[in-house]
């Protein structure tokens, strides 16, 4: 690979640069930036439903109260946004995908790929195995507080080992599929998998 050109007079000073928890090309932030493609939907907890489906066949449906009655999990994890910020030790509470599958009477996902559907039509795709073994949850609390609508409240997916666009805000439905269907950003030039440690930002990375 060619040696990158030196930008004369540039001296880095990001303290995250030497932190082994920060993936390549990322920098640390202490605030929590917001990125969404459109307006923030207004939460309506009475009408809120979370569903899972095997293709088009329903597997389970939970109201807000039913969802909150499921066993809750807490995760403290680092998150990495494709726009190059990383935030360490973020604290989340919600229901793991393992628990949701169990509540639907399943021992494993019925398909190897998952398409995640959200309020407002946003979608993202994740291999089903990336959702298992405590790696992912539907999160409804951040730092001990109900999740703000602008951060995805009432509930968002949390898949922290992938770039954060995969942790889709305002999640409403997990659809298990036999083949991989690219989601919204994945259709718009972003990587189909999105591993921050392999810097899989864009299609072809």
């Amino acid at each position: 690979m060619a040696t990158p050109p030196i930008s004369r007079g540039f001296r880095g000073r990001d303290p995250g640069a030497k932190n082994a928890r920060v993936p390549p090309g990322q920098h640390l932030v202490t605030d929590f930036p917001v990125l969404s493609a459109g307006p923030t939907p207004e939460p309506d907890l009475k009408a809120w439903r979370f569903t899972m489906a095997d293709g088009e066949s329903p597997l389970g449906e939970w109201s807000w109260d039913q969802f909150n009655a499921l066993p809750q999990t807490e995760l403290t994890v680092d998150i990495h946004c494709v726009t190059t910020w990383s935030k360490l030790d973020t604290n989340w509470r919600g229901v793991s995908i393992d628990t949701l599958l169990e509540a639907a009477g399943l021992s494993e996902p019925p398909g190897p790929f998952t398409l995640i559907h959200c309020e407002g039509g946003y979608t993202t795709n994740v291999p089903s195995e990336d959702l298992l073994d405590g790696k992912a949850m539907v999160a409804s609390q951040f730092d001990g507080e109900p999740l703000d609508p602008e951060h995805g409240g009432p509930a968002r997916l949390l898949v922290p080992h992938l770039y954060f666009w995969k942790s889709a805000k305002w999640v409403r439905r997990l659809q298990f599929l036999d083949s991989e269907v690219p989601g919204f950003w994945e259709e718009n030039g972003y990587h189909i998998y999105g591993d921050p440690w392999r810097e899989q930002r864009y299609d072809g990375d």
Partner: protein, 252 residues
């Protein structure tokens, strides 16, 4: 390739390209435009962004995303960068960098927050601060493509001196762009524009009726984008026609 032969084309990785700074334009006290020579530039669409990478002499690297300010039709790629407090990349690009310096680019990126003349209009652009940059690329493209779609830019700045692209916006206003400015902190004597943050009443009076189905692009700090996008939805604009891009701290 023939029509009967399906082919799987592996996606081509976006390569880092070396760009030389050709010219530096002081836009405001905190904002500069870098006009670049990028020999292998593949072209872009208005609204797209690039990743910029800087390499220090000791090999340290940092990268950030910046919107492209230039129209696809322009001879040179231009980025407009606002200096952020403690911004390690923005303080270099908006402060230290000068003509002849080299940076790296990867892109263009993003296929969503994009407008091309063929998409038509009306076009309703809502900007706060340096959020005007990708919207300026759209207005420049509209002018270069000689598009006659009705276009409105509602643009919020802190003060008169913070208005980015002021002279060019005034020229565009003479070419069919409805330019609506609001200054939120200080206004010069005799200021005839708005003097408050963008709100629902301002969006309603400056913009198009929902029945006209304008394509709406909102870009700026998070709080502005959140409130403007929600107000636009409440006014009856279809959420799928409201495209947003946000930056900056949340104030938390």
């Amino acid at each position: 390739m023939t029509a009967t032969e399906p082919s799987v084309v592996a996606p081509k990785r976006l390569q880092w390209m070396t760009a030389s700074i050709r010219e530096v334009i002081e836009e405001t006290p905190r904002v500069r435009t870098l006009v670049l020579d990028v020999p292998d530039w593949p072209g872009h669409r208005a609204g797209q962004h690039v990743d910029v990478r800087l390499t220090a002499e000791d090999g340290y690297q940092a990268q950030r995303s910046y919107s492209i300010a230039s129209a696809p039709d322009a001879p040179h790629v231009a980025l407009t960068v606002e200096m952020l407090v403690d911004g390690e990349v923005s303080s270099y690009l908006a402060g230290e960098a000068r003509a002849g310096d080299k940076i790296e680019l990867r892109g263009p990126i993003g296929g969503y927050f994009v407008w091309t003349a063929s998409l038509g209009g009306p076009l309703f652009l809502v900007a706060g601060g340096s959020g005007v940059v990708p919207l300026m690329a759209m207005l420049r493209h509209r002018a270069a493509a000689k598009s006659d779609v009705p276009a409105t830019l509602l643009y919020s700045s802190r003060s008169f001196d913070d208005i980015i692209y002021r002279a060019e916006l005034e020229r565009l206003a003479g070419q069919g762009v409805n330019l609506v400015l609001t200054l939120t902190r200080t206004q010069p004597a005799g200021w005839g524009g708005f003097k408050r943050r963008i709100d629902r009443a301002m969006l309603e009076s400056a913009g198009f009726a929902p029945a006209a189905k304008p394509r709406i692009f909102v870009c700026g700090p998070t709080l502005l984008v959140e409130s403007a996008a929600s107000a636009l939805r409440d006014l009856g604009h279809a959420p799928q026609l409201i495209k947003t891009e946000r930056f900056g701290p949340t104030g938390k």
